[in-house]
């Protein structure tokens, strides 16, 4: 599983950085930067799914 960020949709809320700072970061103007896209083990994938659901601007999505 991979997480994909749509930087045009991102509003810089920072929910993803709050939830998973090892996977997500923000540029100086707040836009999401994906540090690590891949999630392999099931527990990690569950975390990523939850983080994606918390994004208030639906800028994050999942791909196989």
């Amino acid at each position: 599983m991979r997480v994909i960020a749509d930087t045009n949709r991102c509003l810089g809320a920072g929910q993803c950085v709050l939830a998973d700072p090892e996977r997500f970061d923000q540029s100086d103007d707040g836009i999401v930067v994906v540090l690590r896209a891949e999630a392999t083990d099931p527990a990690e994938q569950e975390e990523v799914r939850e983080t994606v659901s918390h994004c208030p601007s639906r800028a994050l999505s999942l791909a196989d």
Partner: protein, 398 residues
């Protein structure tokens, strides 16, 4: 269903940190129910967590445009807010443009940079509390000055004026303010901020307002009036809400000694505890929208122009998402609460609020191990329905 059978919104809380028992009626026919507002208008109350997020994510179908008469007012004070135009009451793309101007000041990195200063401030306030008490009222001595000083410094508003802007903010945010009181408070705040921004245009400081003058007003992207309206929102929302969240969080913890003991025993629980306290106390009871086209929500037809009220306090007690929702459980996964809203309008200051709450709770309870309410809980009147929820005072001893 006749008009007399439709329940009223809002109702007053009988316990400062629980939604009113009467809100159960809003769930009688599923997650979307008709309710009646003070002016007799019938709107849809959304109490389900999934439906709340659905409404808040869809800015095209559910508008926040406050200047539009279709936007519902939940109390008389709200009518006065229609004249103040800033991003909270706009739809994309106007909303997006304003929000992007501010976002760089609210990144996690910037907020984390504020933490040492917030810690010093909380330590100093507690020094003063200890020197003064017991008994001390934690609202004016602790809960209110923390966010008030932080937002003043962030914006570049002189904290020396705090008595004035705190009082006017209360008049803006109180459920009992009449239209006249609320309108007068808005006028006074707008005049104050207009004068402050004119001063800054002549002699720049180093706050966010100074940055916005340089980057947005000078090049002609924003007018001064637009910046005044934006700064009013940041100033009011930046302290009134967090002050209430600190005070109600303290009350909730003191009333749940087992949970407080668990938090004291395990400081690693702090971030999760803050999320749960945000969910449990839900300072902003609801946010309003109106439908821009015919649609349906959870099978309930909603017509174009209908008012929609997302009852955040009810969505945060949805038992399909939060098992035993009326229990305070600091270990639960509460992160999906909607206390800051959701979608494009989610509170821009949510991570500042989190930092303030974490530092306030952890420092207060470490410093004053014997902290207790100095009056019984039922002697702590909750704030009125239709405004920011909280307590007027919080007398404690230790």
């Amino acid at each position: 269903m006749t008009g007399t059978e439709i329940p009223e919104y809002p109702l007053a809380r009988t316990c400062p940190f629980h939604p009113p028992a009467g809100y159960a009626r809003y769930r009688e026919h599923g997650p979307v129910n008709p309710v009646r507002l003070y002016d007799g208008r019938r709107v849809w109350a959304v109490t389900g967590h999934a439906e709340a997020r659905e409404v808040l994510l869809n800015t095209g179908l559910f508008s926040s445009e406050r200047a539009d008469p279709r936007y519902p007012a939940t109390s008389p004070r709200f009518e006065a807010a229609r004249k103040v135009r800033n991003f909270i009451g706009m739809d994309p793309p106007d909303h997006t443009a304003q929000r992007r101007m501010l976002q760089s000041s609210f990144t996690m990195r910037r907020i984390n940079g504020l933490r040492p200063g917030i810690q010093r401030l909380v330590d100093e306030l507690l020094d003063a509390v200890v020197a003064k008490g017991p008994v001390v009222d934690l609202v004016p001595e602790f809960a209110l000055p923390i966010p008030s000083i932080v937002i003043s410094e962030l914006l570049g508003v002189p904290y020396g004026d705090h008595a004035f802007f705190e009082q006017q903010s209360r008049r803006v945010a109180s459920g009992t303010s009449t239209l006249e009181e609320s309108a007068d408070a808005f006028t006074q705040l707008l005049q104050y901020l207009d004068g402050l921004i004119q001063d800054k245009e002549r002699s720049a400081g180093d706050g966010l307002l100074d940055v916005l003058i340089a980057e947005q007003v000078r090049p002609g992207i924003l007018t001064r009036r637009e910046l005044v309206d934006i700064s009013l929102l940041l100033l009011v929302a930046g302290h009134e809400t967090t002050a209430s969240a600190i005070a109600l969080g303290v009350v909730a913890l003191l009333e749940h000694p087992d949970q407080l003991a668990a938090l004291r025993a395990d400081p690693a629980l702090l971030p999760s505890a803050v999320e749960e306290l945000l969910r449990f106390t839900t300072i902003a009871d609801s946010v309003a929208r109106f439908a821009t086209a015919d649609t349906e929500l959870a099978g309930q037809p909603v017509a174009a122009g209908d008012g929609v009220l997302v009852v955040l306090s009810a969505a945060n007690r949805d038992d399909t998402v939060f098992p035993d929702p009326d229990l305070l459980d600091l270990t639960r996964r509460a992160r999906s609460h909607v206390s800051f809203g959701h979608g494009a309008h989610q509170c821009i200051g949510h991570n500042i609020a989190r930092a303030e709450l974490e530092i306030a709770f952890s420092t207060l309870f470490a410093r004053l191990p014997g902290l207790r309410l100095a009056v019984p809980l039922d002697r702590l009147p909750g704030k009125d329905a239709g405004g920011v929820q909280g307590v007027f005072e919080l007398p404690v001893a230790w």
